[in-house]
Subunit: 333 residues, 2 copies
Amino acid sequence: MNVTIKDVARAAGVSVATVSRVLNNSAAVSVSAAEQVNSAIRELGYSPNFLGRNLRRCETNIILAIIPSTEQTFYSEIIRGMQNAASDHGYDILLSTSNSTYDLEMRLLNMIFNRTADAAILLGTQLDAKTLMELNDKYYIALCCERVEGADVLTVSVDDEGGAYAAVEYLIRCGHKKIGMISTSVASTSSLDREKGYKRAVLDNGIPLREEYIYKGTYDFSHGAKGFEYFRGLTDPPDAFFCVSDILAAGVVKKAFADGFEVGKDISVCGFDNISLSSMYTPELTTIEQPCYEIGRTVVDELISNINNEEKTNKKIKLPYKLIERETVKKIL
Amino acid sequence: MNVTIKDVARAAGVSVATVSRVLNNSAAVSVSAAEQVNSAIRELGYSPNFLGRNLRRCETNIILAIIPSTEQTFYSEIIRGMQNAASDHGYDILLSTSNSTYDLEMRLLNMIFNRTADAAILLGTQLDAKTLMELNDKYYIALCCERVEGADVLTVSVDDEGGAYAAVEYLIRCGHKKIGMISTSVASTSSLDREKGYKRAVLDNGIPLREEYIYKGTYDFSHGAKGFEYFRGLTDPPDAFFCVSDILAAGVVKKAFADGFEVGKDISVCGFDNISLSSMYTPELTTIEQPCYEIGRTVVDELISNINNEEKTNKKIKLPYKLIERETVKKIL
DNA sequence: GTGAAAGCGCTAACAC
DNA sequence: GTGTTAGCGCTTTCAC
């Protein structure tokens, strides 16, 4: 059943070295020999065993991307970007999901320890800076979407702080002064950076910063509604809401509607990510778009350049966001 | 840098065979030797090179799952099911996306040809029955969610026809007699099976079958609106709509609302899948739920049993659906 | 309970 | 332009 390079060599009447040469185009081979080999390959239905090749070469040309879950639909474009970039360099991207779990993430990282993968990209990690730095010393890793404070590791993400700043400033420009933010209390640098942007935009525009205007929940849809309820309970509730994700924004839109508010007329909501849901919703979500495809391409390009250059750069790259004006923000002025 | 089993053996003062034995628990080793080895492993930070192991064993314990894209959020639970089942048998699931592209799918399948993966699961394939059967002869493959007509290959999916039948019968029970169906014209057996279910339910209930009541588009959200528009253009339009997916159902709900219809009061809509979007929508989507987690577990369990038994069963398994009553269906009676 | 050694399939010196 | 061969890191007989 398992036809090997030896079988091909025998059938073609040449040595295994010659077969290997035509397989890899690694050296000149006479046309006649090449023909011989190729027809033998075809006849025998030969396919090179990469376990042998990879062992010999000490490389797999596989990059592992570890994502928390495939539930987050906005990973989809990132992955497409990764794949295209990888393909350009002869690499393949393989995905696996960690369920945001330390144990599973470690088990998957094992693939780089045991040489089953050449590198790993972490889209949201449970590991701390110290561990990450140690890994980065011995292996090729990159962070994507979520940076880790203090980790000097190649990181590619959107400009979270700038995006949040733009969102809030847009809300202010539309006439809003009481702006609530729905963020998360989970350890997430993207949320933290977006909070920074929110605060800076508020302050820069001469609006007093109120701590009670920042609600922190989880990334779950239900926390959109919970956040909205929380704000409605305040004596002086906000009339505009900046959410750290579109899922959360959708949550407040749904809850607000259920409570009799017309979003985009009575109150305003702005999300972040621009996932496909955002334009499927009624009303359609105004949001900050991440350049997902570009993010994916960039991590992989940089990671492979690290692999090839043997001089890790550990760049921290922030790609530009884009404000997408749709229907959930009311222009008061 | 690369510490191997030899280094461990040397450091522990034993042979590589002994190290291998403690690594795999494959044979009795004296406690003292085992301790020696384990501490050497710890000291040297040794991690076995799986390329060597896999080459030797002719197996990788990796199952490749090829999905069209991660955009379809309902794969998420399927994957979780796959992972858990795989983990129970000492396997890992790796994902890759084919973008519904023949070339990319083939490139990924290459991983089973070149022994980088032990088996592959196809969630919606571009390959035809003949190719699939040939692959199934030489390798371990399985189909998930989408069967292929005439392919005698292990297949696990929801009971598509039964689910559609249940949806349409529910609509009828709620008092509807004019039921339109929004399906797809792409080659998809799940759509075809759901059409069968629709037709059977209509006929079984003494309602005449009208060909113009079946609209065929793509899986794209926009085709929900297009389908709705098409139906509104009919001289005698339906007042209930069964959609082949929740995305499509969401499309008709949004369009209907924009056109001034109150879904769940003026007209009814029922989807399929029960993706997370369905309960985030306003109104929330009535739909047919797929047992995603179970589907994932089942394919992997059966696939691994095929691998172990050396006697492929090629079962065709249809798992039960569940009607989820929410807000988009009006009860006329 | 342990070690020596063959060999998994492949690539890449090296010699011719 | 081609063949011989060592060896990648590992597991597993086989002998002791």
